[in-house]
């Protein structure tokens, strides 16, 4: 087991190194001059552009810049953003909790609703509930996040005025004392229920919008998976033994049907992280997605690299956890 994990980590490191190299060179090969942009664009005086270039270390040849970047990376230093003029580490620490909070809540919505809906649809196959779930989920899968987000804003913010839009808390509100950076958790720790309520309200729309696509995918997947298992011989045997339908479903079917679903959930978490980019832009949610998009627009290399590495690490870690969970769920799977 330990050997397996170590081997997987080693593979992951190779993969991440590839990601770093490709992202670094791709972003540096693009024509353009971040120093010029940072100095004020076309109107910037050449000497001002040079001053910025020197300060950012962009006056060095690309291999030297790469060497410096790797040396920094080894020390855990991800460089400095041209746009925010802050160390990328500091920026990521500030923006990451917002994305984690958003993605985790979206993931909870996906798992907590997707599995029951899927099972329900499979058990009531071709019944009214199944038909409704299938129609709704197929429409939800095909909803573009951007469009759906705007629609949700119009309805819940402008028309019904139920939910706020954008930002993690009301404007001018103070953030709860930063322990985890997750406002839901921090506000509970501070026993500040008003802030908790505000944070939850602000989170609702972006999280639901972000979760919708994945929720539909997972529902459909669970339904398919449960149906497959329902047709297997051992299920017929279980029924023949006279077990109640409830025990058949929960004890025998679900355990087997959930194995592919766990992989799916793991992969969906990756999708959620990247989907967060769009949701964060539309909802002005101050996470790493919004940070990455703004950095890309301004050719700000270091944050792009930093976010790429961070998401790469998250993805690899989740995949590893999924593999371990796999074996827990299915005794037939052994680490090798």
């Amino acid at each position: 087991m330990l050997g397996f994990i170590l081997r997987r980590i080693a593979y992951s490191l190779v993969g991440l190194a590839g990601v770093v190299i490709i992202t670094f060179f791709l972003s540096h090969i693009l024509p353009g001059d971040p120093a010029q942009l940072a100095a004020g664009g076309m109107r910037a005086r050449p000497e001002a552009v040079e001053a910025v270039r020197k300060q950012m270390g962009l006056d060095q040849p690309i291999p030297v810049q790469f060497g410096r970047y790797l040396a920094g990376l080894a020390r855990g230093d991800l460089g400095r953003s041209i746009r925010t003029k802050q160390p990328v580490n500091k920026d990521l620490r500030r923006f990451m909790p917002a994305t984690v909070e958003l993605s985790v809540v979206a993931m909870l919505i996906v798992a907590l609703l997707g599995i029951p809906f899927g099972v329900l649809a499979a058990v009531r196959r071709d019944g009214l509930i199944d038909q409704v779930i299938r129609v709704v989920s197929i429409s939800a899968v095909s909803l573009p996040v951007f469009w759906f987000a705007l629609l949700a804003q119009m309805l819940f913010y402008r028309q019904l005025q139920w939910l706020p839009v954008g930002n993690r808390l009301p404007l001018f509100a103070d953030a709860p004392p930063g322990v985890t950076g997750l406002f839901l958790v921090d506000s509970v720790l501070a026993w500040d229920w008003l802030t908790f309520r505000d944070a939850l309200l602000h989170l609702t729309l972006p999280a639901v919008v972000l979760a919708t696509g994945s929720l539909a995918m997972v529902t459909r997947m669970v339904r398919g998976s449960v149906l497959d298992v329902l047709n297997l011989d051992y299920v017929r045997t279980a029924r023949a033994k006279g077990l109640t339908e409830r025990i058949v479903i929960f004890k025998h079917v679900l355990r087997n049907a959930l194995v592919p679903v766990v992989t799916m959930l793991g992969l969906q978490f990756g999708t959620l992280l990247s989907g967060a980019v769009l949701a964060e832009v539309v909802f002005n949610w101050p996470g790493i997605g919004l940070y990455a998009v703004q950095s890309i627009v301004e050719l700000d290399y270091q944050p792009i690299l930093g976010v790429t590495i961070l998401i790469g690490v998250a993805y690899v870690t989740i995949n590893l956890l999924v593999d371990i969970l796999y074996a827990k769920l299915d005794p037939r799977i052994r680490f090798s």
């Binding site: 746009r83 925010t84 029951p116 954008g166 001018f172 509100a173 309200l201 002005n284 703004q294």
Partner: protein, 540 residues
């Protein structure tokens, strides 16, 4: 497993109920927005910007996003009022020697920085020298003309210039001309940069600020938001007719125009600078909102590659100028767009309403092209991604050009591609669409930079490889001329010469929609610095 499933369903149900509970309490008007803040809403102001401000350092900031923030914190020697007049700020009066080379400023007494330090001539000198030493942003305003700065006493600051510079005073009113920073704050917060040199508090001043202005920084998140709070000790409160009661100001970047609009409609935002002009008509129907579609100082310019045949022939450029559909292009911008006369905006030094303009005249264009012996011309046109008006006006123009047998090949490129191609006449497209807005309201900030033949790319700001020795000589003369009347006459002469050469097409001043809540009183749009807000006079 059954147990597990039950608890899963229970949690799902509970969270759904919790959410439902929260939304219904909000529905009853228990808005969460009011509980966390101590000030009533009338003492808070929310300003939305389409882009974030990256730094609070007045020596480095060189972005439009700094306009609604920095002038509230830092003050300069003089300021430009919305009526276009130069007014005192930290200097109460100034004299200029007849040779135009020595400027003496008499400073305001009794002014204190936000940290309690007294403001004096040394502090101002130190701030300016710091800006020049860092060498970024608009430091050229001091670096180019100033030979030395003296402080004969606490309250007097003397600039000695290398040569007379007629626009020196006006350039000091630029929103990017820096401001007085507390010397104590610089000293106390100095750290070493990556190379081990003292950083003059550059790191600290990115997110902190200690100026003399009416508002202090409470909190700043780089490129996202800045919260300002009232400085009760500001010297200027006594001089404002009806001082603002606003205690807290939040200047926030909200990139999505639709989100800005929603926030304004709902009363969460007070003044917005990022809603699309095309939304103006629709917003007008809402009686809670005041809209001002206005022409900005930002001009849409289509620059020809003046060095490349056949565009190096003036007649060809003139022909293309006559072929442009000015009226249609202007209409495509919507409310607020404005036709350009010469190269100067109305109200700014150098503006001359009598200068000739090119109007659409396809016959004349045809005639000029045949005189130049040009047939079957093919032109590459480059517009920058994100600047959609660049594409729109090109498409309108394309139709006219087709009638003349000219083929306009419209290409899109990133800003970086644009910059790269503009470096040399060999790579510059035949026509390149770009914007220009002046740093300070003077002729020299527009015409000199765009048309001086000695300022060509890649190191200069001349974006068309235009060169006319006669124009260069005139520009030098204008720079030294201290008599305003004489200077204005020369400025008109230079513009007329340039117009005749037709190095580019000036399409329109791009409009912007400034939208605010009707309860916001006292906001006067600054005609030259579009995003500047004079908070000291605003009421809600």
């Amino acid at each position: 497993m059954q147990q597990g499933f039950r608890s899963v369903v229970a949690v799902a149900l509970a969270s759904t109920l919790l959410l439902a509970g929260c939304s219904s309490s909000r529905q009853q008007g228990q808005s969460g927005d009011q509980k966390t803040s101590r000030n009533p809403k009338a003492q808070q102001l929310v300003v939305l910007m389409p882009a974030g401000n990256s730094t609070l350092d007045p020596a480095i900031n060189y972005e439009v996003a700094g306009q609604p923030i920095l002038p509230a914190i830092y003050e300069a020697l003089i300021q430009l009022k919305p009526d276009g007049k130069i007014a005192p700020q930290l200097a109460t009066s100034w004299d200029v020697t007849p040779d135009g080379k020595t400027y003496t400023f008499h400073l305001r007494q009794g002014v204190k920085f936000h940290d309690g330090e007294p403001f004096n001539a040394q502090a101002m000198k130190g701030s300016i020298e710091r800006m020049v030493a860092i060498g970024q942003g608009a430091s050229y305003i001091f670096k180019d003309p100033v030979a030395k700065i003296d402080t004969p006493d606490e309250n007097t600051l003397v600039f000695t210039l290398k040569k007379p510079v007629s626009h020196f005073l006006l350039s000091l009113t630029s929103p990017w001309a820096g401001g007085a920073i507390s010397p104590k704050a610089i000293k106390e917060n100095e750290t070493k940069d990556s190379k081990g040199n003292p950083d003059q508090a550059q790191e600290w001043l990115k997110t902190h600020a200690v100026g003399t202005g009416p508002y202090k920084v409470k909190d700043s998140v780089a490129s996202d938001s800045t919260t300002l709070e009232r400085n009760p000790d500001w010297w200027g409160w006594a001089e404002v007719n009806n001082p603002s009661p606003i205690e807290k100001i939040l200047v926030k970047s909200v990139a999505e125009a639709s989100t800005q609009r929603l926030m304004l409609e709902k009363g969460e935002a007070d003044i917005t600078f990022g809603i699309k002009v095309t939304d103006a008509a629709d917003l007008k129907k809402n009686s809670d909102i005041v809209t001002q579609p206005v022409a900005t100082g930002l001009a849409r310019i289509l620059s020809f590659n003046n060095a490349k045949p056949p565009l190096n022939d003036r007649r060809v450029r003139q022909a293309l100028s006559y072929s442009f559909p000015y009226a249609e292009a202007l209409a495509s911008y919507g409310d607020g767009a404005k036709r350009i006369i010469g190269q100067m905006p109305e109200g700014m030094f150098g503006y001359d309403a009598k200068l000739p303009v090119y109007n659409t005249d396809l016959e004349k264009a045809r005639q000029l092209l045949s005189e130049a012996g040009v047939n079957g011309l093919k032109l590459d046109y480059l517009w920058v991604t994100g600047e959609d008006d660049g594409r729109k006006v090109a498409e309108l123009w394309q139709a006219n050009l087709k009638k003349l047998g000219v083929d306009l090949n419209i290409k899109e490129g990133s800003y970086s591609t644009f910059k790269e191609q503009m470096n040399s006449p060999k790579t510059m497209p035949d026509v390149a669409a770009h914007y220009w807005g002046p740093d300070y309201p003077d002729f020299s900030a527009i015409v000199n930079l765009l048309y001086d033949g000695r300022l060509q790319q890649p190191t200069g700001t001349n974006l068309s490889f235009y060169q006319n020795k006669q124009v260069d000589e005139l520009l030098d003369k204008i720079g030294m001329e201290t008599d305003d009347k004489q200077r204005a006459a020369l400025a008109s002469q230079a513009q007329a010469l340039i117009l005749q050469d037709a190095p580019d097409i000036w399409v329109a001043y791009v409009p912007q929609l400034i939208a605010s809540r009707k309860e916001v009183q006292g906001y006067v749009r600054h005609p030259f610095f579009d995003w500047r807000v004079n908070y000291a006079e605003i009421h809600k």
